[in-house]
Symmetry: C2
Subunit: 459 residues, 2 copies
């Protein structure tokens, strides 16, 4: 009996990422190293995605201690954990029904929505946030995916479109699976991956020929670009979606890690509120954040939220119903809770732990900056623009070829730009700098050596 | 701007469960108790779903110690955890990239597929299991939902149908969201919720008038019924799906907890293999299991798997692609790993921990049985059949009315049978016995007292 005919065509349209082949190649190489095969390197370093804990970033002790104590409550009743940790764990444990093994309510553990809205009100300096507009998720991808599932019409005619930035991770696949289509708009690589409203207008015009564009998706701070939008740029975006009657999906997952002088994060919600009428009452904004990125980097734990602003209450009821179909992992919510409510100066035992907390903060701040500086400086020395010239001359060579050869010869795994939606002929690689300074040193050493040889071989 | 028109009609069709209203009522009651309002009870007891840790079941120490140590690796390097725990945690931590914060590979952490297939080969006494046929999931609902998403055609005409047992939890909603439709088949409440092939044939005939039925969904051991199928019954089912060219979805989530004399779990995969040709080569079987149920009861952690048997390899490639869109929580996988590989006699330090392990096993075994015995005995004394008579006379009274009144007057939350798909006029309540003996005693005390009064008031 042939069941192949049964497969949903939407699933067939999900694009296999080239990074997948590189990861398989990396697994094979690691296996060979384990079996004693001689290589010019001892281990594979994978900086092809933002997976900071895998490349040396240390998790936040306080959060890990709290979560471990919730998992194994004997730690609360002993002297094996600091007092703050035990108190926080005890409160959380009561809140989740006494065990991390309890099913979470479909709206999240009881305090979760309030925690998020309190955090948002603090962050946005008083712009109000109602807990009823908060939806707890598995993380950013999950929130975005659910929203799309809800907004895509069943009949699929005309096709629903979402304006989506290029470069961006796993470009379009979430859209494809939900039955929508990604309409690419291109960030300006010559200007630090800035977003131009003219490009949005161009993308929207072309979209209207093939689909019904309903939303604009922005990622700020940019992933993987690191670009941070100015308030003026955000106001332009808001006017654009207002005039074009588009929903605004803002991925603000990286709000805690900004690199570069003078960079400051402002949320879309704050800018929208401060623009006043007619924008602040009309623009439907969905904003996502999670514990997977930022100073937590807890990608393996799955905790995030989505806030809806100016959405019709009846739509939110439908959304609640959809979100209730898949339960929420407890541990990710605990991580999110600690992220939203870190130990603060003035709390009874803050003095005792200030050192650790400061240390963690400084560490994350400093290595990020250092890593970036290193990166810029080394790339400068390599005159990386030459690679582009070579690639353009040898058009048969794709970015994947470069990445695969780099991995085989040096054990360094980076991501080909085409996986991020970048068009043919632009030849980019992406490497994630969220790693330790030591690792970054080694990454750049391997890349530098390989690249010089590559230029010799192909020039 | 009205966005309501945008909502996916599939989402609108998701049925709100009445249990939701009861949970909100319970939250309100708990709030009132907290504010000092006098009630004839001190706390709400919620046995409306299988959430054993919430009602007193103790988690398995070994598994919790291992997970806590992976979360906070300082525990591995100290003497705060037993040696076995530290060794197991160390191995797992290496396997997941050094931190539970690392993103999991989309096929699960590296050892996971092999762990599952080794477990299945042992469990099924040699019937082979290939790791390539294993897919790691968030839990049973997730595996089932993804499979449906993959198998539902984009055009939705004719509607794809799945034969689904009644009673069963969250009946049909997962199907609705994926664009399929649930075709109910009724289990025989008069015979311990047995499954009759004649009823399947009736359901299939009626289904073919309105949709294209592609699969039969069975839950064995039954949830919420507890019924365990005999080998003969399973063989009948296999012949039925073979003849009718249906896929077989087997939810085998409760394989570790069987209550009743002479009950024995055999997997559908084993029965299928032992039936031989033509069945064993042709019937496409999807079987799911998770750490949410059974002796772990870790519903909050989200770890499960799905095994495909006799599926077309090209379908499995598509499935891999779909599953890769949503990452997997690490902690759930750790729980699953420990569940599949508990400490065994013969392992170097088994003697040291045998006591704990035996204790845990005995506890789970004994209180389940005791709880059931209590339950049967108490219901006997209440002559519960009288309730049905009352309900039938007072047809305006739905099961929800009984549940809501029970909750208000006694603080006991149970689930109305209509939430499980049971038809109007049959009036069932469901209470989950996966709780401690003490809690079950209290549950039955409250139910008994209420029920007597209820009979007086409404007879």
């Amino acid at each position: 009996m042939s069941q192949h005919r049964l497969v949903n065509p939407l699933v067939r349209n999900i694009r296999a990422l080239k990074r997948g082949a590189l990861v398989r190649q990396a697994v094979r190489i690691e296996e060979e190293i384990k079996q004693g095969m001689k290589k010019p390197y001892n281990e594979v370093i994978d900086v092809s995605r933002d997976n900071p804990h895998a490349t040396g970033m240390k998790p936040m002790s306080f959060s890990r201690q709290v979560i471990a104590s919730c998992i194994y409550p004997e730690l609360i009743d002993s002297d094996k954990m600091p007092l703050d940790v035990r108190e926080r764990a005890k409160t959380l444990l009561e809140c989740i029904g006494g065990s991390v093994g309890c099913y979470s309510d479909t709206i999240g553990i009881p305090i979760m929505r309030d925690s998020v809205s309190d955090f948002l009100t603090r962050r946005d300096e008083g712009v109000p946030s109602a807990s009823g507009n908060i939806f707890i998720t598995h993380g950013s991808d999950h929130g975005f995916g659910l929203l799309l599932t809800m907004l895509v019409r069943g009949d699929r005619s005309p096709l629903v479109g979402v304006l989506t930035p290029v470069p961006s991770q796993d470009f379009g696949n979430a859209l494809v699976a939900s039955g929508a289509t990604a309409v690419p708009y291109y960030l300006d690589g010559q200007q630090g991956w800035r977003l131009h409203t003219e490009e949005l207008q161009r993308a929207l015009r072309s979209a209207r020929e093939v689909c019904d564009p309903i939303a604009l998706y922005v990622i700020n701070p940019g992933d993987p670009t690191g670009h941070v939008q100015s308030r003026e740029s955000m106001e332009e975006i808001i006017r654009f979606v207002y005039e074009e009657k588009l929903l605004l999906f803002a991925n603000e997952d990286h709000q805690d890690i900004l690199i570069g002088e003078g960079c400051m994060f402002i949320s879309y919600k704050k800018v929208l509120a401060e623009m006043g009428s007619p924008f602040s009452d009309a623009v439907e904004l969905a904003s996502i954040h999670s514990a997977s990125k930022g100073f937590m980097g807890e990608g393996g734990l799955h905790g995030g939220y989505l806030e809806l602003v100016n959405f019709d209450p009846s739509v939110q009821i439908e959304f609640d119903r959809l979100i209730s179909l898949l339960g929420l992992p407890i541990i990710g919510q605990l991580a999110l809770e600690v992220m939203l409510n870190p130990l603060q100066p003035g709390e009874p035992s803050y003095e005792q732990y200030q050192e650790k907390w400061d240390w963690a903060e400084q560490l994350y701040g400093s290595w990020l900056t250092m890593a970036l500086n290193l990166c810029v400086c080394r790339f400068g020395r390599l005159r990386i623009t030459h690679v582009l010239v070579i690639f353009q001359e040898e058009e048969k060579l794709p970015d994947f070829f470069y990445c695969s050869r780099l991995l085989e010869q040096t054990g360094l795994c980076v991501c080909p730009g085409s996986d991020l939606g970048l068009p043919e002929g632009t030849y980019h690689i992406r490497l994630c700098i969220m790693t330790s300074v030591d690792t970054m040193e080694e990454v750049l050493r391997r890349l530098g050596k390989f690249h010089k040889q590559f230029m010799k071989d192909f020039s």
